[in-house]
């Protein structure tokens, strides 16, 4: 009973934190990037301001849009939000841990992606369609790479859920294995694509022809745009949590024991910070690549995933 | 000594010889003559067999053969050859030498097939069978090698002679006369057919190329 109560509290805390900190994380990345480029950059809290501004803007609906126009933002946002609830953040053993099956997660991301693509096609407008087509192309490889990575996780952890994988990995005796390194690389590539960062997409770009994620939302404004923006922030958060939880599960709190929470929280914040720094460093280090280079980029990721599986097999043979 | 079988074989040999030398002949007239000789020998053979086996209907067969094949058909064919002035040489589709080699091969096959088969059969019919089979095959060979309808008809006729020879050789086979009559009906239709083709102006020559032309027009 107490245990359940604690888990409930932990889950609620997790949800609240994730939803609250997502804009901050984005702001942090942007800030760091600007700083590393030698600019002052927007204040940390700028994302919150944007959201508030959008709240107060009238929502304009293009006359060519169909009745489904308002649906897509909600679908996209909800899918990402649920994903954010499933991926453990600072502590394991949340109420949602049983739901957090890796494949379900992939499905949720796909759902959000689909909604965004349809939103791009909604008003029959050229750039949105082009962006949706590119997104479709990217997603093909991203999803494949993600699933391939999953093999080695499940085979190591004997559990398909993110929670279970993390739990298995944090009991350190797996140690550092080559395959996990490959898996990490693959996962990072996918994460960069999914969250629309450089080198596959430029979040701060303003040239319609070059944009992917932003271009799909060009026709949206006001509260619908807010949903999309918020979803994008949440997506960044989800991916960082995912990578942090799976690859650096050390020091994560247990929902059952309240005393471990503070440590978990601190470490979680630390991880997010480190990852934000890493991300911004990477982004200033590389340039955006041409659209048709991206499949190769992700194809490499997929290959790494396969290699991870193979090396895992070899390692098992050697170990045995 | 008993003369029955030696004579039978002698006649059989003559018939085979005729059939074989048909292959070598280039001219229709000569082929017709050969055929006539063959038919006459056949009727003689029939008479002889009838005498030897004491079977009455073989005499009938011999009579029919003599009358129709030995006399009427050759005359008719000579008529055709004369009227359609085809006395000129027949062009064969294959050099004579080669066709004769084929003929020898056919005789060899006939012997090869028949001799081992009839160990248990009456030993004498064995050679008869071999001979008549070779006559049949040679006739067919003539049919396939010659272009002129007349030549083909002659080939067919000699095949049929081979059949009758075999029939006469069969000890005590019933219906021999009937069968040979039935065959004759066939032959009659054959020759009539030739006349038909000639009388009706569908093919300006009996050369079957005419038929093949129509065949080429497709469908």
């Amino acid at each position: 009973m107490v245990l359940f109560f604690l888990r409930l509290v932990a889950s609620l805390a997790h949800i609240a934190l994730v939803f609250a900190l997502a804009p901050l994380l984005l702001g942090l990345v942007t800030k760091l990037r600007a700083r590393l480029l030698g600019r002052r950059g927007p204040p940390l809290l700028q994302p919150y301001r944007n959201l508030r501004r959008l709240l107060h803007k009238t929502t304009l609906v293009p006359d060519t849009a169909t009745d489904l126009y308002p649906i897509w933002p909600f679908v996209s946002f909800t899918a990402i939000a649920v994903a954010a609830m499933l991926v453990p953040g600072f502590c394991l053993g949340l109420l949602t841990s049983d739901l957090s099956d890796f494949i379900t997660l992939v499905g949720l991301l796909a759902l959000a992606r689909g909604a965004a693509m349809l939103a791009g096609l909604e008003s029959g407008f050229g750039f949105g369609g082009a962006a949706a087509a590119r997104e479709a192309l990217f997603s093909v490889f991203a999803e494949a790479a993600l699933l391939v990575v999953l093999v080695s996780f499940v085979l190591i952890a004997h559990s398909p859920t993110v929670d279970g994988i993390a739990a298995a990995f944090r009991t350190g005796h797996i140690g550092i294995s080559v395959s996990l390194g490959f898996a990490l690389a693959a996962m990072l590539a996918v994460a960069l694509t999914e969250t629309g960062r450089i080198p596959t997409d430029n979040p701060s770009g303003h040239l319609e022809l070059a944009m992917v994620h932003e271009a799909m939302l060009l026709e949206y404004s006001g509260r619908f745009l807010l949903l999309f923006e918020y979803a994008a922030m949440l997506r960044l958060m989800v991916w960082m949590c995912l990578i942090g939880t799976v690859f650096f599960p050390f020091g994560m709190a247990r929902a059952g024991e309240i005393l471990s929470w503070p440590g978990g929280l601190v470490l979680w914040a630390g991880k997010l910070g480190v990852m934000a720094v890493a991300l911004s460093l990477f982004e200033i280090g590389t340039a955006k690549m041409r659209v048709f280079r991206v499949p190769e980029f992700l194809g490499v990721a997929m290959l790494l995933g396969v290699l991870a599986g193979v090396f895992l097999f070899v390692a098992a043979r050697i170990g045995a | 000594m008993n003369l029955v079988y030696p004579l039978a074989h002698l006649m059989g040999g003559v018939i085979l010889l005729c059939a074989f030398s048909m292959l070598s002949q280039r001219r229709l007239a000569a082929m017709i003559t050969l055929y006539q000789v063959q038919a006459l020998t056949l009727s003689a053979a029939a008479f002889w067999q009838g005498f030897a086996q004491g079977a009455g209907d073989l005499y009938l067969t011999g009579l029919i053969t003599l009358a129709i094949k030995g006399i009427l058909l050759p005359m008719g064919m000579r008529q055709i050859v004369q009227r359609f002035n085809m006395v000129r040489a027949v062009e064969t589709t294959m050099p004579v030498g080669l066709s004769m080699i084929l003929g020898v091969g056919l005789i060899g096959i006939a012997v090869l097939v028949v001799l081992p088969t009839t160990v248990s059969a009456v030993s004498l019919t064995r050679e008869d069978l071999a001979i008549s089979l070779s006559v049949v095959l040679l006739g067919l060979l003539v049919m396939t090698l010659r272009r002129h309808a007349i030549a083909q008809v002659i080939g067919f006729l000699s095949t049929e002679n081979g059949l009758v020879l075999a029939a006469t050789g069969m000890p005590g086979m019933p219906f021999v006369a009937e069968l040979s009559v039935a065959l004759l009906v066939l032959l009659a239709f054959l020759v009539i057919g030739v006349f038909l083709f000639r009388i009706r102006e569908h093919f300006d020559t009996l050369d079957l190329v005419g038929i093949e032309e129509i065949e080429r027009r497709g469908r």
Partner: protein, 539 residues
């Protein structure tokens, strides 16, 4: 000619009946052939002996061939050829004792009829030909009947002699179909052709599941077998629901606009909203999105593949990992195809006056689709229950195996969804500015359209072809034959047709032979026989 009913046939009857009802509703008392077709499928499922099975199967082929012929004569011959090929494979197979040869024949026969690669290329041509109801039944039902035969013989009749490599063959064929099907579904412009391609994909998915199950069963790993079977059978159920729905919808679109080419549609959501909603349900299933009917099977299959990757040697590991990649690839491609279907066809601006003037589908069609949509709900939200119903079938196919409970709980996910969405709506109600203002859409910098195009210039919005272009450039070049032709056609059908053409020429030559040549045939054959005889007896 006697009948039998066991769990397997009951399951497939349950898959079949709703489609028949729905198609009948849509076609409103279709032609006699239609009913013969339906009856033949039922007969095949009920068959208790080989003769009845083959009879029903062939009758099904014949009736469907006639229906295809009436629809469009061009693919009919190819279809007939495939049907007879499968017959020629099946009839011997059912008489051979259980052996690898027999199973291969069954696989060829049933696989050809089910559209398994490399014998699938007839399917995207033949299925779109007849009227929508028939296409629906062919795509949702006939394919299943073929798979039923495959299952019946692979697992039950020949079950004793099963070898692991049977499963591997099945998996490879399935994987190929999945990839090619999904890819072509993404590239095709014709609505019905695209749906047919996606049928190939789903058949491939089912085949992969069955193959894993067969392999695992032969290797004695019964739990994996039951997991894979769950996936395959559930996939069959789900596909049997949403694919006919989509085909019926495509038929309605054809009725309303006179075309099924996505390049001439667009904005149908305005003209036919109810149809559009039903299509959304089906599309969610086809794209295997969470909370849709298609996700649970995909989920199970992926888990089965991952589990299978842990069994066997290095080859199995590499193979199954690659297979997983392929499945992921095709899942995303299917999503792209669905987005293309809905986004190009039903959203955006009309691309032709017909599309602009489209009116909603007839009541019969909507009723039929509605029926299927309602049946989708339990598969989508309560897959656990459906799997519970599948228990006896799995017990029949993989005896004394204990299927693991499903670890995907759409119901609680759905609750989370509802909560979040509700929160979002309420939050926006509370804090955001209410109401919306309709404004002219941004033309994207293009000039204003001419007067005779009230809905704007179609050329200024993405076309279906254009939408598929990136995928074509990045993937199709590698996987398909040159010029985007299906590899099965380029490397299998074309050479075969060339060979037959050559032989036909030979036959014609023989037929045209002159009379002397014909005599020569007779004579030569006779001499041959005699020679053989003489040598045979002499030696």
């Amino acid at each position: 000619m006697h009948l039998r009913l066991d769990a397997l046939s009951v399951l497939f009857l349950c898959i079949l009946l709703p489609q028949i009802v729905a198609s009948a509703l849509a076609e409103r008392r279709g032609p006699v052939t239609f009913w013969v077709f339906a009856a033949a499928m039922v007969l095949t499922l009920l068959a208790g002996d080989a003769f009845t099975l083959i009879f029903g199967f062939e009758l099904m082929s014949a009736a469907s061939w006639l229906l295809v012929l009436r629809g469009d004569a061009r693919p009919a011959t190819l279809y007939a050829g495939i049907a007879m090929f499968s017959a020629a494979c099946l009839i011997p197979a059912v008489f051979l004792p259980a052996s690898s040869l027999a199973f291969m024949l069954v696989l060829l026969g049933a696989g050809a009829k089910a559209g398994l690669a490399p014998l699938h290329s007839w399917l995207p041509r033949a299925h779109p030909a007849p009227p929508a109801g028939v296409s629906a039944l062919m795509s949702g039902g006939m394919v299943k009947v073929s798979l039923y035969i495959l299952i019946r013989y692979g697992f039950i009749e020949f079950g004793a002699a099963a070898q692991p490599w049977w499963g591997s063959v099945l998996i490879v064929a399935g994987a190929a179909s999945v990839l090619i099907g999904a890819l072509r579904a993404m590239l095709e412009v014709e609505l019905k052709t695209m749906l047919a391609c996606s049928t190939v994909e789903h058949v491939g998915l089912i085949a992969v599941g069955l193959g894993i199950a067969l392999r695992a069963k032969a290797m004695g790993n019964l739990d994996l077998a039951s997991l894979a079977l769950q996936g395959a059978l559930l996939c069959a159920v789900a596909h049997g629901l949403f694919k006919p729905m989509l085909f019926l919808g495509a038929g309605a679109v054809k009725n309303a606009t006179g075309t099924t080419s996505l390049d001439w549609l667009g904005g149908l959501m305005r003209g036919m909203p109810r149809l559009g909603m039903l299509m959304l349900v089906g599309a969610a299933g086809m794209a295997a999105l969470p909370l849709g009917p298609g996700f649970a099977p995909e989920f199970l299959l992926l888990h089965a593949v991952i589990r299978a990757a842990g069994t066997g040697g290095i080859l199995a590991r590499i193979g199954f990992t690659a297979l997983l990649a392929g499945l992921g690839l095709s899942a995303a491609l299917a999503l792209g195809a669905v987005v293309r279907l809905i986004g190009i066809g039903f959203l955006g601006r009309p691309r032709s006056l017909h599309a602009a003037a489209a009116e909603d589908a007839k009541r019969g069609t909507l009723a039929g689709m509605g029926l299927l949509a309602v049946l989708c709900v339990p598969v989508a939200l309560l897959p656990g229950v459906v799997l519970g119903m599948l228990e006896p079938v799995i017990a029949l196919l993989a005896p004394n195996s204990a299927p693991a409970p499903l670890s995907y709980a759409p119901l609680s996910l759905g609750i989370l969804f509802a909560l979040t969405a509700g929160a979002a709506v309420l939050g926006l109600r509370r804090f955001a500015v209410r109401g919306t203002r309709e404004v002219a859409a941004w033309t994207g910098g293009f000039g204003s359209p001419p007067a005779w195009l009230p809905f704007g210039d179609p050329l200024t919005q993405p076309s279906a072809t254009g939408f598929a272009e990136p995928v074509r450039r990045a993937i199709a070049r590698g996987l398909l034959a040159p010029k985007g032709v299906d590899p099965a056609e380029a490397y299998l059908l074309l050479p075969l047709s060339k060979v037959s053409l050559r032989l036909t020429r030979v036959a014609e030559h023989i037929r045209r032979s002159t009379m002397r040549q014909r005599l020569a045939f007779v004579f030569g054959a006779l001499v041959m026989f005699l020679l053989a005889l003489g040598l045979g007896e002499g030696g």
